[in-house]
Symmetry: C2
Subunit: 553 residues, 2 copies
């Protein structure tokens, strides 16, 4: 294996723990707080979690360790999409576990939750762990998207734990995975397995966030990586002065990633899906909004700009989501075969025209042909449109070009419009974790073991006060049930951790809203540059603008 | 203007000069070497450059400055595509000029060579310069692609110089711009204008390279940026284990960028256009070559990988370049109108089928429809196919998918193939220059002024021994005519600096060739991470693998 100079250097980095965890294992005691209630639907959640509901919030403090000495065998899994810092969660967990008792063992189940079902694992040792310290990726044991949610799966997991003498499982994942961790914890308690379950909040999307989780890990590094690239492109746009760059960024439904990138780089335009939904903006209205900036700037001699498009935005456009629904209906079951058998696109187009409602056909008709074809030709195994594959950066630039052509004909627009397109996602999910994510993740893992050692079950490893220096971070745990409410999913009431969308009355959006008119008109680009792991603290240790604005008093 | 923390911190960076330039202006003397000859076509070049041919190579040394004191007014332009470090060339030039005589002035002509024609300029002062130190982009004065090549243009430039009392012009550009700098220098000498012209070697493509130019500036930073992203994607691929990533990288015709990225990241596949040309590889042969890696890995349970595609590769595929030529002929002049008037793609396809030779139609037929349409629908103002817009990353993945389907049917391939696509170019052209590029560029600019001060004309600012620490770099100048040969361009014999393609018997390609079979089969990914400006010297000060291999003795 060829190790890059940075990777070698990062092996030497010592992640910073919260001050209260820095005195050695023997000097960590527990302070129990009040009993908790779920954020909503208390009675229903309580009924579903009789053994794990209502437990106390806890924090760790400096003081004599009063936990009971026993050999711990812990299993850990990585669940879902990669996020920078996952390796450090495991390293922190390992270090705390070994520091507590060198006989303790850490099992890593491979390829995500399925590794736990298939009993496919490795037992970590120092040499193995050391090769992954402060590195990106989930390749230490791999990840996967299998969901642990059925009683049958839980029974298998309990058997696997019993077989190996596993005393606790740590699940590193997003909102769904942590919801399932809570359900698994209840199963383990209800069946007196003695196995504890602890969750850790992961996702670059930033949508696992609530009054207990200030941010999910990976969001900092991923947005720094995307902002590096967006800033570089802004500088290119401002140098060449001839292109508009339409840049889609990952983030699923929520626009946290797009908004954070905008706060860091001050582009001319950033769409926010949650605002599109709240204002019921049409494709045409969005295109007009962007075209206004292009026109104003073009008429002032600035035929260039940058627009950030959140991955999920088209789903939030009311008429577009109706269109998607109709297409899915139109091609359901055997109807897809009839469609696929049509020899030419013209034939297919006629089929589509006959099958869609007039309203949806009007939406469909204004789409560029490449997007039209994408909607019909690239469908998932269930025959549904794959919304995440829609090249919305190209969709919006094409719609904007149409608007500008009309404005040019009307004499209001005098500029030139040339567009380039980018999509950033995979570039940031496995970057070397920023110092913040390296510290935060290591702390989450270290802290997760302290929760195990003190016997807690169904808790989320919680590290807070994150906009302060690490020394002032607060480490502890929160019952997962506390974050749950009941939502309707696939026709059933389910207890889930609520997914956090961008709040339009939250400080990050408010800041953006207060500045975006100026950004749209003038050139206010900011160039963050590449993530720095060394150097001045204001360059290499500060986390997101989102968190700074949310925590500003 | 909102300045990022990194930008603020980078203002404080002091670029490193070659040791021989570090003793202050008063301690820089000239050492003249041998008279020079052009690399080829000596008689023809000599005849074209009677006033500037055959001059001596020079180097600077520590010693009493013997240059003649006179007030210098220097003009500078940025020419062509952006490259990280351009700002530092101007900063170095400015600092040397002001250190020599505070009365000296530096004019920055705006928007590239056209600024010199239009007499559109600013006069730099400390505050202006300080805002651009160690930053990326060409936004300090902008750039442009106008070529300075006609006698009429030269006469205007001479007038502009006379008007402002300009004593020298520094042209920061690629091979064409430096060629034109040489021609302009000859004009200035032949017409006794007293104006000197100095060139500086810029381009991220790395194709301005010869025995005098070890590397062009910007190549280091751009390839570090692309390699960061490729490494991150490799780590993602190795974590998720379900995608092949096809990554196109900028670089125009030459494959230096792709090769350097491959040397840094060890992907499974890297195409090298020069090899494709030398072996006359067909699209089918290239697809088979990639499919071999996909098949071997897939059959070993590794359904993931990374393939790097150099921007220009399709132009080097013999049958594809014939196809492009035929398409250009097919749509020349009014024939395009007939084509455009056809209502459906099926009609257009029939037109194409009737117009292409059988051989070219066979090539066309295997292309994915999106590429077929791109070839016919997106043409440049002259009606020609825009080769640089061809999404060759999608082309090759589609061809590979076809190959794999056949192999699956034949029973040899048992894996799964899912592809994702990326194109990196604009992300790296305006990054904050690496320490290497910051130092190299500042040295080029500082050195350019010393050449001016000592009265040289038609020289390229030359800094060499670049794989050694900056202290050991050698500063001097080389007559531009020395790098020229005669090439046939647009039906005319022209004196030009030869564009450097990847040499298949050079050390970088040889290293790649010796390792690529292993990389194709196994997972040997290397993760360079983001460019670091601070930290251990092996992390933040080392330049390219290409240069290290070329200069290894």
């Amino acid at each position: 294996m060829n190790i890059s100079p940075l990777q070698k250097a990062r092996y030497e980095y010592s992640p910073k723990l919260p001050g209260m965890l820095r005195n050695g294992i023997a000097e960590i005691c527990v302070c129990e707080g009040a009993e908790t209630q779920s954020v909503a639907d208390q009675d229903k959640i309580k009924a579903l979690f009789p053994n794990t509901y209502g437990k106390k919030e806890i924090t760790f403090q400096k003081g004599a360790n009063t936990s009971v000495a026993k050999k711990q065998i812990v299993g850990v899994i990585l669940s879902g999409g990669q996020a920078p810092g996952g390796h450090n969660v495991i390293c922190g967990l390992y270090d705390a576990l070994k520091a507590t008792n060198p006989e303790n063992e850490l099992f890593g189940f491979k390829g995500g939750p399925s590794g736990l079902i298939d009993d496919d694992y490795i037992v970590f040792d120092d040499a193995y762990i050391d090769a992954y310290r402060n590195t990106g990726g989930f390749d230490i044991i791999g990840s996967g998207r299998t969901k642990l949610e059925t009683q049958e799966q839980f029974a298998i997991v309990a058997d696997v734990c019993k077989k190996h003498g596993i005393t606790a499982i740590v699940i590193i994942g997003g909102d769904d995975s942590n919801t399932n961790a809570g359900v698994l914890a209840e199963y383990m308690a209800a069946n007196n397995t003695g196995v504890q379950v602890i969750g850790c909040p992961k996702t670059i999307d930033g949508d696992l966030k609530n009054e207990d989780i200030e941010c999910s890990f990976g969001f900092d590094t991923a947005t720094k990586t995307y902002a590096e690239l967006i800033g570089n492109i802004e500088r290119d746009a401002n140098s060449a002065k001839k292109y508009w760059h339409f840049i889609k960024v990952m983030g699923r439904s929520a626009s946290h990633v797009a908004l954070e990138c905008a706060l860091k780089t001050q582009p001319n335009i950033c769409l926010v899906s949650e605002e599109v939904a709240a204002k019921k903006m049409s494709l045409s209205a969005i295109a007009d909004y962007i075209a206004d900036s292009v026109e104003t700037r073009g008429n002032n001699g600035m035929n260039f700009g940058v627009a950030i498009i959140p991955e999920g935005v088209v789903e939030f456009v009311p008429e577009f989501s109706v269109l998607i629904h109709e297409i899915n209906e139109l091609l359901a079951g055997s109807k897809a075969d009839a469609f696929n058998a049509l020899p030419t696109w013209a034939d297919k187009y006629a089929f589509i025209e006959a099958g869609l409602t007039k309203e949806s056909m009007a939406v469909f008709a204004i789409l560029p042909q490449s997007i039209q074809q994408q909607l019909f030709l690239e469908r998932d195994p269930h025959g549904n449109v794959q919304v995440s594959l829609i090249e919305s950066e190209k969709l919006f630039s094409a719609l904007v070009a149409d608007k500008l052509a009309a404005r040019k004909a009307a004499g209001t627009y005098k500029g030139k419009f040339g567009a380039l397109h980018h999509f950033f996602g995979y570039e940031g999910r496995c970057a070397f974790p920023s110092n913040f994510d390296a510290d935060y993740c290591y702390s989450l893992g270290y802290n997760a073991f302290m929760l195990i050692q003190y016997g807690y079950n169904g808790y989320l490893s919680k590290v807070s006060n994150l906009s302060a220096p690490a020394n002032e971070w607060v480490a502890g745990g929160m019952p997962i049930t506390k974050m749950m409410n009941i939502e309707r999913r696939h026709g059933e009431d389910k207890p889930v951790i609520k997914k956090a969308l961008v709040e339009l009355d939250g400080a990050p959006f408010k800041y953006f809203e207060a500045h975006r008119e100026e950004w749209a008109k003038d050139t206010c680009f900011t160039f963050p540059g590449a993530i720095q792991y060394y150097g001045p603290t204001e360059v290499c240790d500060i986390t997101t603008v989102t968190l700074a604005l949310e925590q500003a008093k």
